[in-house]
Every structure is written in structure tokens, then in C-alpha cells.
């Protein structure tokens, strides 16, 4: 499958749509529009020579050989299109921005969230949780007096959620996912049955189900539920009115047997070795079959130009031949419609670097991410930790209720990969046992089991509200190898969120008590992300769920895009992805941004195909 064209051809072509970014939102927009007869160019800043398995294998081998197996460790260091990496994050000193990593940390809070700049974007390393938002999440202002309302509601997005669940190949059962106002049309089924919960999950459910926990005036009854996941499981023959579902396997130029079911490689992040987990290359490779998508990789959109009519006139690019050399060529690309789908940080960065902060001045502002509080303990029995996909179940019962007028909502994941996120287990456990425990041989083997197979880690994913002061900016002092302005992050955690952090810690103590688990949680004041609140200290981690930087609203005065993700300022410009979301609730953002991408694709198609000059399907 030859997917690349040369830059000269692209420069001399007037495309219907130019998409910047090949992640999930760009891929969905590109595929949807190409399948409706439109000619689409996708430019990707990162590498990804071809949509082949060999390409993918390179990532896997790099991951195997990496000492630090962080969530971007599978991907090449690329000074031409750098990406944030969590090991780069340092404890900040007040007033001293840290420019160690690609992302300039301006503080006061250090943020270790990342994204991935390769073909397929951050879906290469995403974990694959595919959860709808709750209906009440769309009405934060009117229901809880917090944050913002969306200009559209759950019901508007519901059909697109179904499209997204098809595209991403979601495994879940409707009965498990029907909670706190989430509704499905009668007879709806997910493409595949829910993935089986882990042994660890069943131990936790056995002891926790039915526990009642009070959050303000809301009584929450705990129920451990399987999580909806975008990874291949058992196809549901009842899907689509009995038509069933054919899972999408590994992307490859020749036939392979991979990508079928999740094998339990416990490595969703940073890379599923068999492509059982959805990644945007799957969408791209299917879209390419139309013959109407061109892809240019190693091609950085460097500047967006606006014509006198206020429309985008063209976008400049820099194309580099090798990740090890800054040599590059430049040119301009033209299309009727422009879609920036480069993720919330890069979308904002590109607009700001182009001198386009928006008439509302809100480009880059209202940055959100989930705040993660990690709590960990040792279970009284062997739970078989470190097997399965990274998470198979969670607790949804702290996501909804009147308490949200007082503090943020939380969602709990039970981590099959134990303490690896907070402590670096099992490596750190091994080093301690060998270096300090002075055990070896069979004793070591027993101690390793005792130490690791009983691990329980609960992550509390806590919502943030949009705050204009949390923002991405650019600063002429900070540039990358090709001279592009790097993103500068200013970030702090609102009270509303911090109160939920305290509540989460209280909840985790209750849950550990109920489980008879030995609480091992420790927060080191020297760690990045350490914050004190109400006399207790916590380490808050990022969730990689960047959002809000081109926030959606019902008026050009207080938002950047309308409900179709169209820029208020430039009629032929769309800013797609979680950057448009006015709230993120307690759902991982991918399913919602995928749904939004389908909705936007419909809108762009209707705009373009009603023009008399265009012949659909030509």
C-alpha cells in the first residue's frame, strides 16, 4: 500500500480538505470525508514511513530495549518534531520555568502529561478506555454551578458515540455500561462483548460491592464494573441488528495473523504488541482504500495564513528527510477547508505561533486534563497482579451526584499492572529485595511473588474545570530544532479539583480498610506534581487527556469554536479534538473526541457537497 505522495504533487493540488495531524480525530475526519468522495491531504509532523507491520515492529523492539519504559519509550527521539516525555519533568522552583523537555513548564504545578508525534498520534500509546461522558457532564454550569455547559448535549452526541464505538471497536456490554444517566437506543449492542474482568477485579468486587460512601450529601454505593475498552474481544453477533462485527486486525501491507483478540500483554501503554488495541493507523489504512487520501509524514505544519477575507488561505510546511538532521524543505499547501487535528497543545501552539490567538483571546486557554491521584496497597492474598490489559474494571459511583456542586467528580480504575505507575514496580521492588532485602535464590522468588502479586493500585481520575489561566502560550525564547516555537505551559489545580483529591484519599482509605489491604501510599514532597491541600500532601499526575485549548461555545465572545468545531473567526477552519471540549467530566476523552470528529465530518461534508461545482464520488 503506497500511501505517500511527494510534496511537489501536494503543493500543486487544491485539496478539498487539509487535515493537520494523523491521530484519531484527523484519521476519522479524513476517512469520513474521503468515503464521501472528497480529496483529503493528511500531514503528520512525526515519522511513520508506511503503514506496515515492520514500522510497528521497530517501535516494539525499541520499547523492549529501553531502560526507562515510559509512555513514549517506543518512539524515536525526534528533535524536528519533539514530544513531551514524563521523565523530563522536574520539580519546579517558583518563578523558574523548566525547559528541559519539549514542553516548557512555567508552573506553578508540574504536569507530566504527554502526547505522541508519530503516524497514528497518541492512539499509539493510549490505554484504550472508551467511555462515554455522563449526560450531566454536558451541563456543569446549569446543574452544578461549576465550569461550563456545552452548546450541545448527550442526546446530540449519542448517535456519534455509536459511530465512534464502531470505529474504535469497543468491547463492552450494554448492561454494564448503563449507569448515571447514560442511555443507549433500544436494542443497542456494542461491537464486541465486554472483556473478561481480571482475577484481581473479582477479588476487589467480592469485598467492595455494596460499600456505601458518603460524598457531601450524596450516598454512593460502590459497584465494581467492567470498563468499556477499544480493544478486540469476542465479536457480538447481535451487533448492528444481527449483522455482527468483524474486528479490525493489525495494520500491515501483507497478511498477518495479529490484531485479533487482546492477549493480555499488559502493555496497552506505551504499545500494544499485537494491535488488538485500536490505533488511528487502522482508520487511516481503511480510509486509504478510497484512493482519495494522501499522506505526508515528517511534514510539519509551521504556519497558518489568513487571507483578507478572513478565510485560511494556505498553510506553510517544513518537510525533513531524517530525524537526525534539521535539514528540511518548505512550501505551502492549499485546500478548501482546513482541519487542525494536531491535539489540544499543538493546535493551540500552531495558531499562537501563527499570530492567531482568536478574537476571544481564548486560544490556548482553559487547558484541562484529568488530575490523577494514585493510591496503593498490599492485598492480604495473591491477586495475580501484572496480568491482563492494564485495566479491566473500575468504580463509576463517584462520578455523579449533587456533591459535584461542592467538589469535582472522580472515577476509580483498578490497575492490573499494580504499582508500576506510582512506584516503578516491579523493577523497584526487585532492586529493593536484592540490594536491601539481601535475598537471593528461591527465597527471592517467594519474596517477589509476595511483594508483587498482591499489589493493588487504585487511580482516582479527577475532573478539572476550565480555567482561563491554565494555558498554553508561546515565547520567542523557546524554539525546537526547526525553529518552531515550543509550547509553554502554565498550570494550576483549582480548589474544586483539590477538594476532590482530598475526598479521593479518604475514599481510598475506606476501600483499603474494607479490603483488609495494607495502605502503602506515600507522596514524596520532592516529586514533581507534589501539592499540599488542607494540611495533607499529594502527588498529582497528569492523565494525558489534554483538552479545552480551543473551547467550544455558543458565542464567538467566549469560545473559539462553535458546536461543529468550526472556528468562529475563520469560516473554513475547523479545530478538532478534545481541545474543543468545554468539560471533560470523568471519562477518558478519546471516545468523546472521536464522536465529535464524526459530527464535524458530517458538517464539513454537508458544506462541501452542497456546493454545485463538486461532484460527489467522482
Amino acid at each position: 500500500m503506497s500511501v505517500e505522495i511527494d510534496h511537489a504533487t501536494a503543493v500543486s493540488t487544491l485539496y478539498d480538505v487539509l487535515v493537520v495531524g494523523s491521530g484519531v480525530s484527523g484519521a476519522i475526519v479524513a476517512r469520513s470525508l474521503a468515503e464521501r468522495g472528497l480529496h483529503v491531504l493528511v500531514v503528520e509532523a512525526g515519522p511513520g514511513e508506511e503503514l506496515s507491520l515492520a514500522d510497528y515492529d521497530t517501535y516494539l523492539t525499541r520499547f523492549y530495549g529501553a531502560v526507562a519504559k515510559d509512555n513514549n519509550s517506543a518512539y524515536e527521539v525526534n528533535p524536528n518534531a519533539p514530544m513531551p516525555r514524563s521523565p523530563d519533568v522536574r520539580r519546579l522552583q517558583a518563578g523558574h520555568p523548566d525547559s528541559t523537555g519539549y514542553l516548557i513548564q512555567n508552573g506553578p504545578y508540574e504536569m507530566d502529561s504527554t502526547y505522541t508525534r508519530v503516524l497514528g498520534g497518541t492512539t499509539m500509546h493510549w490505554e484504550g478506555k472508551a467511555m462515554r461522558m455522563l449526560p450531566e457532564d454536558f451541563e456543569m454550569r446549569s446543574r452544578f454551578g461549576q465550569g461550563r455547559d456545552w452548546p450541545i448535549g448527550y442526546d446530540d452526541l449519542e448517535p456519534h458515540y455509536r459511530q465512534a464505538e464502531r470505529e474504535l471497536g469497543v468491547s463492552a456490554d450494554v448492561a454494564d455500561q448503563t449507569f448515571y444517566g447514560i442511555t443507549f437506543p433500544p436494542g443497542y449492542e456494542f461491537p464486541m462483548h465486554g472483556l473478561p474482568p481480571s482475577y484481581l477485579d473479582t477479588i476487589i468486587a467480592r469485598d467492595l460491592d455494596g460499600t456505601v460512601i458518603q460524598l457531601e450529601d450524596t450516598a454512593c454505593t460502590v459497584s465494581v464494573r467492567p470498563t468499556a475498552q477499544a480493544r478486540n474481544g469476542m465479536p457480538n453477533p447481535a451487533y448492528d441488528g444481527g449483522k455482527g462485527y468483524v474486528p479490525v486486525g493489525a495494520v500491515s501491507t501483507h497478511q498477518v495473523d495479529q490484531g485479533d483478540r487482546c492477549q493480555g500483554n499488559i502493555n496497552c501503554v506505551p504499545l500494544c504488541p499485537v494491535q488488538a488495541k485500536y490505533n488511528a493507523r487502522k482508520t487511516l489504512s481503511i480510509g486509504l482504500r478510497t484512493g482519495r487520501i494522501d499522506i505526508l509524514t515528517q511534514t510539519i505544519a509551521s504556519r497558518v495564513h489568513v487571507g483578507e477575507d478572513g478565510q485560511i488561505s494556505h498553510i506553510d510546511y517544513q518537510a525533513y528527510g531524517s530525524t537526525s538532521s534539521p535539514d528540511h524543505v518548505t512550501g505551502s499547501l492549499r485546500a478548501t477547508k482546513y482541519v487542525l487535528a494536531a491535539n489540544p497543545v499543538e493546535n493551540a501552539r500552531l495558531l499562537l505561533a501563527s499570530g492567531l490567538p482568536g478574537s476571544s483571546g481564548l486560544v490556548g486557554r482553559n487547558l484541562m486534563d484529568h488530575a490523577y491521584l494514585l493510591t496503593w496497597a498490599t492485598l492480604p492474598e495473591i491477586a495475580g497482579t501484572m496480568r491482563g490489559s492494564q485495566c479491566t474494571s473500575g468504580i463509576e459511583d463517584f462520578r455523579s451526584g449533587g456533591f459535584r456542586s461542592r467538589h469535582a467528580a472522580m472515577r476509580v480504575s483498578i490497575h492490573n499492572d499494580g504499582w508500576s505507575w506510582p512506584t516503578g514496580s516491579p523493577y523497584t521492588d526487585l532492586l529493593e529485595l536484592v540490594d536491601d532485602g539481601n535475598v537471593y535464590g528461591e527465597t527471592l522468588r517467594r519474596r517477589v511473588v509476595d511483594r508483587i502479586s498482591r499489589q493493588l493500585m487504585l487511580s482516582f481520575m479527577i475532573e478539572l474545570t476550565p480555567e482561563p489561566s491554565n494555558r498554553i502560550t508561546v515565547d520567542g525564547r523557546y524554539t525546537d530544532a526547526l525553529g518552531n516555537l515550543r509550547p509553554v505551559l502554565s498550570y494550576s489545580l483549582p480548589e474544586y479539583t483539590m477538594d476532590a483529591v482530598s475526598a479521593s484519599r479518604r475514599v481510598s482509605r475506606r476501600l483499603f480498610q474494607r479490603l483488609g489491604a495494607e495502605d502503602q501510599t506515600k507522596y514524596d514532597p520532592l516529586d514533581p506534581g507534589f501539592v499540599a491541600h488542607q494540611g495533607e500532601g499529594y502527588v498529582i499526575r497528569g492523565g494525558n487527556h489534554w483538552s479545552g485549548t480551543h473551547i467550544m461555545g455558543s458565542s464567538s465572545r467566549d469560545s473559539v469554536v462553535d458546536d461543529h468545531q468550526r472556528s468562529w473567526d475563520h469560516e473554513n477552519l475547523y479545530l478538532v479534538g478534545s481541545g474543543s471540549m468545554p468539560s471533560i467530566g470523568t471519562s477518558n476523552t478519546t471516545l468523546t473526541l472521536a464522536a465529535l470528529s464524526f459530527r464535524t465530518a458530517d458538517h464539513i461534508a454537508s458544506e462541501l457537497t452542497t456546493r454545485p461545482s463538486l461532484t460527489v464520488g467522482a
Binding site: D57, Y64, P235, P247, G249, T253, H254, Q258, D260, Q263
Partner: protein, 359 residues
């Protein structure tokens, strides 16, 4: 066992049970070659062989579906179900043997012969002296030297037989319990789809997958679904290049394919119990491996007899025994300098200690 041309439903059952045996017989040679490669090397060769092995599993399952559909009783545990390697495949010719051997050009050559396409219309049977190590049974007691030319021709006879019996019996031929049919929810992969067999049409569809996936359609290198036939997939390894659509047989023009024939453990060919007489860990492991393989076949039999959900743990069995196979192959063979051990795929029946033949 002697087969005659298919005249009765019982004949058909016999043929389909042989089909199970035949489809399975290719798996240990393919797996042995696959497991013999060093980890993180030979990615292309690894994939090519693995896809074929997985598709042989698909064929095995389809054969079970066919046998179940016509009221038969699949059994992967009968004595002698797994051939003693080396054996002659598929037609009893003496010109080549198939064994459990390390990945090598010679091994690929024997795989090509397993999967070789039919040469013409009237070559279903060839008259040639039959080897006693031939896996396929004789065709008829009175035609002792008559054999199927290829696996494809064997299936053509099943196809014809099915057709003849269907003319006689109508849909009553498909009297099997439909709950025994394995559906796509239990088996899917990059290539080929499982077909539940409940009538003449679905039987024909299942037959098409089995016979075409191996050998290509009507002499072409790609089948109806656009998949490259097994024969040509293996050939790519010898030619060092991938086929792409539009290519002619023997002349692939796709991307190059790197094969490192040296990144392979030097394992003993056609390992058998007499190679492991010395008590110790290695022998224990080889016996455990054979027993696990037998458990796997027993689990498949159960799955094909009304418990398709057992195919999931059977796949996990395969992953587990692969690990043990790799461990065995990295251990030196005692007394054979420069030679490594290799696993035996025999099964439970032969592994009782009393039945271990010491040469």
C-alpha cells in the same frame, strides 16, 4: 485404514476425520520451524510461517465443523492421530519427507511440497508405489498404488462426495447438532473466516476456504478473498521478496523480505523419545511438553464436541507450550556436540512412561 471413493455417509465421516489428521499433521513441522528462530530475528519469516500455521488451525476447525455437520464425531486423541515424523505428506510419494526441523531452506522446501498446487484437471490420483509412511490412507483396496496427488485433490474428492451424497439425501445429510458448530466469535484472525456448516451452501463455503487458502484459485497465486496461497507465501522466503497483487507465480515484485537462515537454534531433527534417554530436567521437560500437547489436542476434541468456548483456553495452551518449546530448543542435546534439543509433539497416549521407547 483404507478409504474408497465416497459412497456413503460413513465414508464421508472417514474422509473428514482424515482431513482433521491431515490438517493437523502440518502444524508440528510449521511450529517447530517457527519456534527454532532466535527471538527478535527473522520477523518476516516468523510472520509468514505463523500466519500459515494459524490458518491450518482454521482449516482444522473447518474440517471439524464439516464433520460435525454431517453427524460425525471429531477425535484428535485417537492413537496415531499425530504422525511420527518424518512422514510422507500428503500423497505417499517418496520424493520428500516432512519432519519437525529447524527453520532452513530445506524445511521451507518441504513446506512448499506440502502446499503444492494441483497441476491439472486429471491429476487427482497418481499411480506410484506407496510409501508405508504416507499419511493419507489408500484410496481403494483394489487400487493400492493410487494416491491423491495433493491435499487439494483429496479435498476435491470430499467436495465431490459431499455433492453426491447431497443429491441422495438432500438437507437430511446435514443432521449434526448445530450447537457444535464453531462460529466466528471463537475464531478470527488476519486471514480467512470460520464458516458454520449447516447446509450445502455453507459446506461448500467451508470447503472453499480449506482448499483455496492452501493453493490458490485455479492456478492463480491469490484466492477469492485476495489472500496469497500458502504455497506462494512460503516461496517468498526462498525468493527473498513479497508477492503483490498482479504478480505472476515465481516472480514476486513486492518489498524485499529479509531472511537470516543462521539466526536459528541448531535443533535435532525429528526429535523422538529415544533421543532423551538420560534422566534429568531436559527429559522431564520434553515429556511434559508432549503431555501438554496431548492435553491441547484433548481440549480441542472437547471443543469440537459441543464446547466451542474451550477454544479460548486452547489458544492460551498454545502460548504456554510455545514457551516450553523455546526453552527446550535453547538447551544443548547431551552427547550431541553443537546440537540443541527439540520438543516432541506426540500427546498423552504415548507419554506414559512405560510407552516411552528407548532405542
Amino acid at each position: 485404514m483404507t478409504l474408497r471413493r465416497i459412497a456413503t455417509v460413513t465414508d464421508l465421516h472417514q474422509y473428514l476425520q482424515v482431513a482433521l489428521q491431515l490438517e493437523h499433521a502440518t502444524i508440528p513441522p510449521y511450529l517447530t520451524a517457527l519456534y527454532s528462530m532466535h527471538p527478535s530475528t527473522n520477523a518476516d519469516a516468523n510472520r509468514v510461517i505463523r500466519v500459515v500455521a494459524v490458518e491450518e488451525m482454521l482449516h482444522l476447525t473447518l474440517a471439524a465443523n464439516l464433520l460435525n455437520a454431517v453427524g460425525g464425531e471429531p477425535d484428535l486423541t485417537v492413537d496415531g492421530f499425530v504422525p511420527v515424523y518424518p512422514c510422507h505428506l500428503p500423497d505417499g510419494e517418496d520424493d520428500f519427507e516432512v519432519g519437525t526441523r529447524a527453520f532452513s531452506p530445506e524445511a521451507i522446501d518441504s513446506f512448499l511440497k506440502i502446499e503444492r498446487p494441483a497441476e491439472g484437471e486429471n491429476q487427482r490420483f497418481v499411480a506410484r508405489k506407496r510409501s508405508h509412511r504416507a499419511l493419507l490412507p489408500r484410496v481403494d483396496a483394489h487400487e493400492d498404488d493410487l494416491h491423491f496427488f495433493s491435499i487439494g485433490e483429496f479435498y476435491a474428492e470430499i467436495g465431490d462426495g459431499l455433492h453426491r451424497l447431497y443429491e441422495q439425501h438432500g438437507e437430511a445429510l446435514f443432521c449434526g447438532d448445530t450447537a457444535r458448530q464453531v462460529g466466528p466469535e471463537y475464531y478470527y484472525s488476519g486471514g480467512g473466516a470460520i464458516v458454520k456448516v449447516t447446509d450445502a451452501d455453507s459446506a461448500a463455503a467451508a470447503m472453499r476456504v480449506i482448499s483455496e487458502q492452501g493453493e490458490g484459485l485455479g492456478g492463480g497465486i491469490f484466492d477469492e478473498e485476495g489472500e496469497l496461497a500458502h504455497y506462494y507465501r512460503f516461496q517468498q522466503l526462498l525468493l527473498g521478496r513479497y508477492y503483490q497483487p498482479g504478480d505472476d507465480a515465481g516472480n514476486p515484485t513486492g518489498p524485499t523480505l529479509d531472511v537470516d537462515w543462521d539466526a536459528v537454534y541448531p535443533i535435532v531433527a525429528d526429535a523422538d523419545f529415544h533421543h532423551y534417554t538420560e534422566p534429568g530436567e531436559l527429559r522431564d521437560a520434553v515429556l511434559a511438553y508432549s503431555a501438554s500437547y496431548g492435553d491441547f489436542l484433548a481440549r480441542l476434541t472437547e471443543a469440537f464436541r459441543g464446547h466451542p468456548e474451550l477454544l479460548l483456553p486452547a489458544v492460551a495452551d498454545m502460548f504456554r507450550i510455545k514457551e516450553l518449546a523455546s526453552q527446550i530448543m535453547r538447551n544443548p542435546m547431551p552427547g550431541r556436540d553443537g546440537m540443541n534439543a527439540a520438543p516432541i509433539f506426540r500427546g498423552l497416549a504415548s507419554v506414559g512412561l512405560s510407552s516411552v521407547k528407548v532405542a
